[in-house]
């Protein structure tokens, strides 16, 4: 587990990251979301040691995160980072060597990853001759090729079509199931679908953090009711806040769980009860909730 404790960064008088603490559990995809300027990139750069923190620290499995340990991480910086005018395999081999692999090992690991991404025939091509999606694949290969101890990925999926995202996520889950992965994204639907753990940042502070399921459970529970012929009557019930009614279907928020019984009984008394389910909020709804 990678633990971030009290990371702080100021630019002049502005504190852009203010005592940020959260955990990136091993074996989970941790989503890192927040509006533009919330401090995601600054936080990730501090975790990677690219930017010095004015306060706070990062620990890996309880021990301090040394420069040597950090060098084993895989990192995708904001706006990516590779040499546009150099051949793909060459630069992957170079990065692998810098990560402490032998030249042979670096080249063979790179070639294997390129094969895996169906880019085997592009190994000798210059990076900027590839499509944006393929460039992003190479970028991810660069982060993975030295079998990293953790992954810090700043917007790794931007520019990828949904299929490409899926295959990338499959690969991450297959290759990196034993390490902490932090990825930032502003595509909330993607975060909803992918992450097992969520950290929400707003104006330099953590406003929500937890496993995705816990966060959903902890959110305000809603119920969906489908009753014939019409669900309009739910408005008159005490303790029920109606969010939406559309013919036979209604989405309601209940003051407490005991109201659920009364609501169901009333529905049965009035006619047919087709459906009565608890609806958990999506992570994007939680995000909107906590950052409101």
């Amino acid at each position: 587990m990678l633990s971030v404790r009290g990371l702080t960064r100021r630019y002049g008088d502005t504190t852009v990251v203010d005592h940020v603490s959260f955990d990136i559990p091993t074996g989970m995809m941790t989503g890192f979301v927040g509006a533009n300027g919330a401090g995601k990139t600054t936080t990730m750069r501090m975790i990677m040691g690219v930017l010095a923190a004015h306060a706070g620290e990062v620990a890996l499995d309880g021990g301090p995160l040394t420069r040597e340990l950090r060098a084993t991480f895989g990192y995708i910086p904001e706006e990516r980072g590779l040499y546009p005018d150099q051949p793909v395999l060459d630069q992957l081999g170079y990065l692998g060597e810098l990560h402490g692999m032998s030249r042979r090992a670096a080249l063979s690991a790179s070639a294997e990853l390129l094969e895996r991404f169906d880019l085997g025939d592009k190994a000798k091509a210059k990076l900027d001759s590839l499509s944006l999606g393929n460039q992003q694949r190479v970028q991810i290969a660069a982060a993975l090729l030295h079998s990293p101890r953790a992954l810090i990925l700043d917007e790794p999926f931007s520019g990828l079509d949904p299929d490409a995202v899926d295959s990338m996520v499959d690969l991450l889950r297959e290759r990196c199931s034993g390490i902490p992965i932090l990825f930032s994204s502003h595509q909330l639907d993607l975060v909803d679908r992918l992450c097992d753990h969520l950290v929400v940042l707003q104006a330099g502070r953590v406003v929500a953090e937890g496993d995705a399921d816990e966060l959903r459970e902890a959110g305000q529970a809603r119920h969906r009711l489908v009753t014939l012929p019409d669900a309009g009557w739910v408005r008159s019930l005490p303790g029920v806040t109606v969010l939406d009614v559309d013919g036979p279907s209604a989405l309601v928020e209940l003051a407490d769980e005991s109201t659920a019984g009364a609501l169901a009984a009333e529905a049965v008394r009035r006619g047919e009860l087709h459906e009565f389910t608890r609806v958990l909020p999506s992570l994007s709804e939680i995000f909107r909730e906590v950052t409101r």
Partner: protein, 410 residues
């Protein structure tokens, strides 16, 4: 979330851990250096410019040796064996078999006709008024000069013999030998020529290899590769690898050019003299070159790191260009006291000290002091440039100037 597999490939523990199972793990600066060298030498512009320069040097060498070994040879038609002797005496004074002018006599009944029929190049004949050298459409001055002397000597000897005086007593005390009061025109000319070559080599190498350091730093900054590099290796090692790579390539290239030039000097049949001075100065020039180049490399790396876009480099390198052009001019034009002073100023000394050494014998301690000053400056600037590089290259946002860059903190 699946937890069935951990890392599918065993982690290849890097430096500091167990040795990698396959192949040898190199230190980061070496990896950077080798990568940078391979990128540089594969660049087309580099290959083309090196090939062209080498060709120009080879062509210069060939032209030089052709010119210096070119032999003019003429057949001189003469009416009698007696006059043929004058031609062979002329040949003897011109330097015998090894001379660049070769005259061979050929006895003809009608020498003028032989020239007209292209049987001979020149005709040497005696007329009522004196002597005559006849050519078809021109008479080469070299042949006219040597033959003229020989004819004169023969005629004087003839007259002297008639009055009973011999040639030796007649010409005794008439030898003219040259003495110099100040300097040595030949050495000054050599110093000017070789100094020009040194100055140009330093100027060209600084531009050819300095600017690419700045552009490659800027490229890594702009493409954010530097973030990955900074997270992986200490930036000091990155900078060291980059500077070493440019230095090695430029010194190798320089050694190639200088080597070709010196080889030509040694192999060329014409003895220019001063070969010893030039070879030893070339050795010192390499040492001064390294020191001067280190200073420039550190500055170029820093301006690359401070820039935000390509255009920033152009304006940032203006001061360097001023220094470089100044160095070139100083190497070509400085004289006397000014040259002595300039030969102690770092960067400028990379050219001016070798030029001084070519012109005259410089006391060894002066050379050593100038080199030490250069190296100390290089050390200082690598430290300062390295700090600016480390801080500025990770700075996002616009271009920085030196003041802002030096004020940056981690």
């Amino acid at each position: 979330m699946s937890t069935q597999t951990s890392l599918s490939t065993p982690p290849e523990t890097g430096r500091g851990g167990a040795a990698a199972p396959r192949g040898e793990v190199r230190p980061p600066w070496l990896v950077v250096m080798l990568h940078q060298i391979s990128v540089t030498v594969r660049r087309r512009a580099f290959l083309v410019s090196t090939a062209i320069t080498a060709l120009i040097i080879v062509a210069g060498v060939v032209a030089f040796s052709l010119l210096s070994t070119k032999v003019e040879s003429y057949t001189v038609a003469v009416p009698s064996q007696e006059i043929a002797t004058i031609v062979s005496e002329a040949q003897a004074t011109a330097g015998g078999e090894a001379a660049k002018l070769q005259l061979s006599a050929q006895v003809e009944s009608d020498p003028i006709a032989a020239v007209r029929d292209k049987g001979a190049d020149l005709a040497l004949t005696r007329t009522a008024e004196g002597w005559s050298l006849t050519g078809r459409d021109s008479v080469p001055t070299s042949a006219q000069a040597v033959l003229g002397q020989a004819v004169e000597r023969a005629t004087i000897q003839e007259h002297a013999g008639a009055t009973g005086t011999d040639w030796a007593s007649l010409t005794a005390g008439s030898q003219l030998s040259a003495h110099l009061l100040e300097g040595d025109a030949q050495r000054t000319a050599m110093a000017a020529a070789v100094g020009y070559v040194f100055a140009m080599l330093f100027y060209l190498a600084s531009i050819l290899f300095g600017m690419p350091i700045a552009t490659s730093v800027l490229q890594e900054k702009a493409s954010r590769v530097v973030e990955i590099l900074a997270a992986t290796i200490p930036l000091r090692q990155l900078l060291a690898g980059k500077i070493l790579a440019s230095m090695i390539v430029s010194v190798l290239q320089l050694a190639l050019y200088v080597g070709v030039g010196l080889l030509a000097l040694v192999l060329s049949p014409a003895d220019l003299g001063f070969t010893g001075v030039i070879v030893s100065t070339a050795g010192w020039f390499l040492a001064f070159f390294v020191a001067g180049f280190l200073i420039l490399a550190a500055v170029y790396a820093a301006i690359g790191a401070m820039a935000h876009r390509g255009e920033d480099l152009q304006s940032a390198q203006v001061p360097i260009m001023v220094v470089l052009v100044g160095t070139l001019v100083a190497g070509l034009a400085a004289k006397g006291q000014a040259l002595v002073v300039l030969s102690f100023i770092p960067v400028v000394s990379s050219v001016t000290m070798p030029v001084r050494m070519l012109q005259s014998d410089v006391p060894w301690w002066q050379t050593a002091l100038a080199l030490a000053l250069s190296l100390a400056t290089a050390f200082l600037l690598v430290r300062v440039g390295g700090k600016v590089f480390r801080l500025a290259v990770l700075h996002t946002g616009g271009a920085l100037n030196w003041k802002q860059a030096l004020a940056l903190k981690d």
